[in-house]
Amino acid sequence: MAVTSTKPYVGVPRDRVENFNGKQIVYVGWDQHMLFSTPFMIVVEPGMKLGDMLQNAVRPLMQPDPDAPAVDFGKVEWLKGKQPWTPNFEASLADNGIRHKQQLTFRTPGLNTLGAAGR
């Protein structure tokens, strides 16, 4: 039973992509970099090049972490959802198969200044 109800009931999701004026949500997380409380919520057009989104929307948000300047997006390990993934920075989000509300996570093994005490 998908909901306890007195009669058949179908819910309407509030966050469908068509409610975002032609944009979509992408979550981008930096593994082990806990200065940032959650993955960043980025709202952009699906036609935007992945590389542009990372440079223009994500990189500025990473600045407060001392490791930020050392990150080369081309050399980090990527996850799409929970699966290892190879991004194409020149292709659009849509062509990279990045769906609405999808989470991308990048890992920078060996690079973790603020987390060093925690390991």
């Binding site: 039973m1 998908a2 909901v3 306890t4 109800s5 007195t6 009931y9 179908v10 819910g11 309407v12 999701p13 509030r14 966050d15 469908r16 409610n19 975002f20 004026n21 944009k23 949500i25 979550y27 997380g29 593994d31 082990q32 806990m34 200065l35 940032f36 409380s37 959650t38 993955p39 960043f40 919520m41 980025i42 709202v43 948000l61 407060p64 001392p66 959802g81 929970k82 769906r99 609405h100 509300k101 999808q102 989470q103 996570t105 603020l114 987390g115 060093a116 005490a117 925690g118 390991r119």
Partner: protein
């Protein structure tokens, strides 16, 4: 002539019977299912409503008398507090943040509980149940009202109190308690009783009231202490009603057990998430602290809750599913919460701050295995950023949990260096969660939770369409006054100036 003398006084039991029996008539031209249409769909089987006893047997006339007496005392103290500038007796203006969160996030919950119990007073068929729910409905509205009145005095002097109702409806951190109560109010009557009557009132209320009211006393806030006392005497009645309800369900039919257990699992976890805010106030926002969140949870959660679940074991009830995960989170959650509040402080109608050296020393003492190892380095770095003139703000906005609706700030139960990442695909859409507990709740009733109004996603939809200035106006947040760092705030300056005036000749 012989006169029949009326019996002078009715006994309590007799009076209760006379004053309530008319609610229990047998309908003749409708069947009972039509009169009480919501009492069966949750699957709870009841064979004999007479078995539900209201142990207090309080009648309306007695109820009015008690409550009126409490109100008289309460308002006398509130008046004295206002006339004597009681707001200047608090330890420090940082304490006000705890009050602002209470007013924006918790008091409206009292009002919701009032609405919910008013409905339950109508939906339950048993007379004892109806009367008890109606009185609790009035109690809850009284609590909301006395809290708002007590705190209105602070609104004359400080920022962040002026728009608590807008905050409750629209603020991103307020959707945590809001979604808790919306979830309960849109559930059936029995689930509502487990959510509010049992989980909230019985298992968790001590964690909310005792540390918070002691916190108020420790920090010189007579107004809050007074509403605490005024409310507390009702709580015994509420707790009894919640416990009575759960025992009634379990005694009526063995088929009720799995349904009740499922609700206990769900509402324990929702309540635990909600209390994370209270824990954060205790650990970080009280200038003079009573005990740590961990210590409070050990006493009121683990000891008292443990004893309760032992008692319920004879019905086949086991401790809630999230119990172990809750235990693992105790040393981390308030630090994770406060770091989040600090980095998003441009969007909060209260102030947050970097803990002082003294605060951090206290935190390391109270959280010896985690604070220095995981959280102090982050605060030290944030302090460095501030000193360098580039104060830390996370403008990336947060990923929210579809169930509890708070930012997904919590880590894996067994790995405090990795954020918990849980996602579920349902009818082609992706949904994210902060924990296994919240994911399980979603998976049991996805059609309910896909409708969740996530406040940060809402900023990018009509009518705000991504305009942060319009958002501030819409949530009634006065930029530069209500939000931001406590250090340098108008509240800090005013409090210091007024207190100096009151205590010196300057």
């Amino acid at each position: 002539m012989d006169m029949t003398v009326a019996k002078k006084k009715l006994g309590l039991k007799e009076k209760y019977k006379l004053l309530t029996r008319d609610l229990g008539w047998e309908p003749t031209y409708h069947n009972k299912d039509e009169v009480f249409p919501y009492v069966k769909y949750e699957g709870i089987k009841v064979h004999d409503w007479e078995k539900w006893e209201d142990p207090f047997r309080l009648t309306m006339d007695a109820y009015w008398k008690y409550q009126a007496e409490k109100e008289r005392k309460f308002y006398a103290i509130i008046d004295a507090h206002a006339q004597n500038n009681g707001h200047l007796n608090i330890t420090d203006a940082r304490y006000l943040s705890a009050l602002k969160i209470f007013l924006q996030a918790i008091s409206p919950g009292e009002y919701c509980a009032g609405k919910g119990f008013a409905r339950m007073g109508r939906e339950f068929p048993g007379v004892g149940t109806q009367v008890a729910c109606q009185m609790q409905a009035i109690d809850e509205i009284r609590h909301a009202q006395t809290q708002i009145h007590a705190l209105s005095n602070y609104n004359k002097f400080y920022n962040g109190f002026h728009a608590f109702a807008d905050a409750r409806d629209r603020m991103w951190y307020c959707t945590l308690p809001r979604s808790f109560f919306d979830d309960a109010m849109s559930a059936g009557p029995f689930e509502f009783m487990i959510a509010i009557g049992f989980s909230f009132e019985y298992v968790l209320t001590n964690l909310l009231f005792v540390p918070f009211m002691s916190g108020a006393a420790y920090n010189g806030d007579m107004a809050t202490v007074t509403f605490g006392f005024s409310a507390q005497s009702d709580e015994a009645r509420h707790m009894t009603l919640g416990l009575e309800c759960i025992k009634f369900m379990l005694e009526q039919d063995p088929d009720n057990l799995p349904i009740v257990q499922n609700w206990i699992d769900k509402w324990f976890w929702r309540g635990f998430r909600l209390l994370g805010v209270v824990g954060t106030m205790m650990d970080y926002m009280l200038p003079k602290r009573v005990m740590s969140w961990r210590e409070a949870f050990e006493i009121y959660g683990i000891e008292n809750g443990g004893a309760l679940f032992k008692d319920l074991a004879r019905y086949g009830i086991r401790p809630p599913k999230g119990w172990d995960d809750a235990g693992k989170a105790l040393d981390h959650m308030t630090h994770q919460f406060m770091l989040a509040l600090y980095q998003y402080q441009f969007g909060t109608a209260f102030h947050s701050w970097i803990p002082s050296e003294e605060d951090m020393a206290w935190l390391s003492k109270k959280y010896p295995t985690t604070f220095d190892k995981y959280y102090r380095p982050r605060w030290e770095h944030i302090k460095k950023l501030k000193e360098a003139g580039t104060p830390y703000a996370n403008m990336g906005l947060a990923k929210l949990c579809q169930t509890c609706q708070i930012p997904t700030v919590f880590t894996e139960p067994d790995d405090p260096t990795t954020l918990c990442h849980r996602e579920v695909e349902y009818k082609g859409e992706t949904y994210h969660f902060c924990s296994d507990g919240c994911q399980h709740i979603f998976e049991k009733e996805p059609e309910k939770y896909i409708q969740g109004w996530l406040p940060l996603a809402a900023i990018f939809q009509a009518p705000l369409n991504g305009d942060l200035g319009a958002w501030m106006e819409w949530v009634s947040l006065a930029d530069g006054k209500d939000n931001g760092d406590f250090a340098g705030s108008e509240d800090q300056r005013n409090f210091e100036a007024w207190r100096n005036q009151a205590t010196s000749n300057q």
